[in-house]
């Protein structure tokens, strides 16, 4: 009997560039591009610009779903008619790591579950997400957040590196359509490919072996109970309130809206821009009261929202372990370290002790 799986195909690595070229023929292609010491998701004109060997981009691919500055409406002051020139376009985002795919799933929940935003839905419907497997660096902790692998997230194709080939999982009809469109580049799965694919999971997990990973068990309760912990203030002392952590976060969504009139006072643009809970004005109400008046309060709020707020709102952590907030922080504040301190310095000893007890048992 022939070995046959319809949920996946194999893309020989040699065909990757033809695949990208093929994608670009279908619709505008966005992929990671190396610029100096950083990697950024950019629109691709020349596929030789694409880099697949990267750990993390500065900004997540979120910027192609929700631009950092966007005009919501233009309205006329004469008759107050609101109009929008917004038009979603077809696009393919290639080369997204698992954590960022999970990040997009979280955004999907935020924007689409309650009071769905038609603009986001429009963009999302017209966007194809193609993921690629990756290996962690010192900042990654996706294994703790359960986002190291793309299962459960909203994506169309996912390429897992299995040595000479990519194991291409098909996540949606849109993904399948692309495979059909470019079918000459793929071959069917063989038993050996499946074995390699299964092994790749273990390989990524093993890469985390000697890294510091935060223990996120009962983290929501822990943060609520440790709300008054001095750790918050100690860590917040180093915080510059620069907002980098939220601006690079794949799940942060806060924005501020401003109405900008023209000189004649005839039309007004309603502009939305990404903001951060780390900025004092964020919680400032007219009259001058700051609801989050201290740096500590703002610093703590980010953790609180990620690990208590999101679970309440969308039943998932708001953190996907991508490590951007720690990697980009000018003050080198580490989320993993803060969480570890919050749990208590001797956490590891405790665990070791527990393991010891376990192995000491005579049976």
């Amino acid at each position: 009997m022939e070995f046959h799986i319809e949920r996946a195909k194999v893309l020989p690595k040699a065909n990757l560039w033809d695949f990208l070229e093929g994608l670009r023929r279908v619709s505008p292609l966005i992929a990671p591009v190396r610029r100096g010491g950083r990697v950024a998701f950019s629109e691709i004109n020349d596929i030789s610009d694409v880099t697949i060997d990267y750990t993390r981009t500065v900004l997540p691919p979120k910027k192609f779903l929700v631009p950092y500055r966007r005009v919501r409406f233009t309205y006329s002051t004469e008759d107050l008619s609101f109009s929008s020139t917004f038009k979603a376009r077809q696009q393919i985002i290639f080369g997204i790591h698992s954590c960022d795919l999970h990040g997009i799933s979280i955004l999907d929940s935020i924007y689409l579950k309650e009071n769905p935003d038609p603009r986001y839905l429009d963009v999302r419907k017209k966007t194809v997400l193609i993921g690629i497997s990756c290996m962690p660096d010192d900042f990654c902790f996706c294994l703790s957040t359960g986002t190291a692998f793309p299962d459960g997230a909203n994506w169309d194709l996912f390429l897992t590196d299995i040595g000479a080939d990519y194991f291409v999982s098909i996540g949606s009809p849109k993904g399948d359509e692309l495979i059909i469109e470019l079918k000459e580049l793929f071959r069917d799965i063989e038993r050996e490919d499946l074995e390699l694919y299964k092994r790749s999971t273990k390989k990524k997990k093993e890469a985390f072996r000697n890294r510091k990973l935060p223990d996120l068990e009962r983290i929501s309760q822990l943060i609520e109970l440790e709300y008054e912990s001095p750790v918050w203030e100690e860590e917040a002392r180093r915080c510059l309130s620069c907002g980098t952590c939220t601006n690079v976060c794949p799940t942060c969504f806060c924005y501020t809206s401003v109405d900008v009139p023209d000189f004649e006072g005839k039309t007004v643009k309603r502009v939305e821009f990404t903001t951060s809970c780390q900025y004092p004005y964020y919680s400032l109400v007219a009259g001058g009261h700051y609801f989050k008046p201290t740096r500590t309060a703002r610093f703590r709020h980010r953790y609180y929202h990620k690990f208590v707020g999101y679970p309440y709102q969308i039943e998932k952590f708001g953190c996907v372990g991508c490590g951007r907030c720690s990697a980009e922080c000018p003050a080198e504040i580490s989320m993993v370290e803060t969480l570890r301190r919050l749990r208590g310095e001797d956490e590891e000893e405790l665990r070791e002790a527990a393991e010891q007890t376990f192995t000491d048992r005579p049976f």
Binding site: G36, G37, R38, A40, T57, V58, L59, Y68, E233, A236, R237, R238, C239, L240, S241, C242, G243, T244, N247, V248, T256, V258, D259, V260, P261, D262, F263, E264, G265, T274, T275, S276, Y279, P280, Y281, Y290, P293, T294, R295, T296, E328, P330, A331, E332
Partner: protein, 256 residues
């Protein structure tokens, strides 16, 4: 017709030039707005009442002072444009270190200028200022937005968020993490972070963001090798008086 004035005190006139560089905006403004006073740009100038008066430069001579006080009397709205008028500018960075006499000697030797001079000061030390548009030079987009808002009877909205906001959203590499002293985390954004995009650390020309954490920034500078007085002077170039006394770390003082 809305009467607008543009006045220059002690400064390089760069901000007035920036106003002139807003060509599209000025084209659209003419017809609605009369530039009744703008000596840098036109020959005939009347010094009558103003709906909006933009003032550039710091106050450092008796003449500056008189002009400013008179301008304030005649202006419904007075807007300080540029870092000199908002914070005193680079010319005031050593105000707390040297006496006026020492400054004069350093600049003029034994000669003395004909007008009475004093230490350069921001407008707000002399008169009440309605809005401040800092920057060296001020940002054209902010100027246009401010004019549009004021013409419509709306106060412009400038949350004092740090330069890091615009820098990071432009996907620049963090200079501090690459060993380059940068004032981005403590400086008021709105410029679009052009310096950091070119690999030059932010010089803080737009002054402080809300509740800046200078203490932590200084300790980062220290790690980068920019130490003690040098680090403070780096921060003082554009901030002048607005740089608070940096003694000990304090997190939970009002708003911080």
């Amino acid at each position: 017709m809305v009467k607008v004035g543009v006045m220059g005190l002690t400064g390089c006139s760069g901000c007035q030039c920036e106003i002139l560089n807003c060509e599209d905006a000025i084209n659209r403004l003419i017809g609605r707005v009369e530039f009744s006073y703008f000596p840098l740009a036109q020959d005939s100038n009347g010094f009558s009442d103003f709906d909006i008066l933009f003032v550039e430069g710091s106050v450092s001579t008796e003449l500056d002072r008189e002009k400013l006080i008179e301008g304030r009397k005649r202006a419904k709205i007075l807007v300080a444009v540029g870092t000199c008028s908002c914070y005193g500018g680079v010319q005031s960075q050593r105000n707390d270190e040297a006496s006026l006499e020492e400054m004069l000697r350093a600049v003029y030797g034994e000669k003395r200028p004909e007008v009475r001079v004093f230490k350069p000061a921001p407008l707000s030390e002399v008169v009440e200022v309605d809005y401040e548009l800092p920057g060296c030079p001020m940002d054209k987009k902010q100027f246009v937005y401010t004019v549009a808002s004021l013409l419509n009877g709306v106060e412009p909205f400038f949350p004092k968020i740090p330069v890091c906001h615009e820098c990071k959203l432009s996907e620049n590499e963090c200079l501090l993490l690459n060993g380059i002293p940068c004032q981005g985390p403590v400086s008021f954004s709105g410029c679009g972070a052009p310096c950091t995009a070119q690999g030059v650390g932010c010089q803080g020309c737009r002054g402080n963001c809300d509740f800046p954490n200078f203490e932590e920034l200084l300790s980062i500078y220290d790690r980068l090798g920019l130490k003690g007085e040098d680090a403070v002077r780096f921060l003082k170039v554009f901030r002048g008086k607005t740089l608070p006394k940096l003694k000990e770390r304090s997190v939970d003082e009002k708003g911080a």
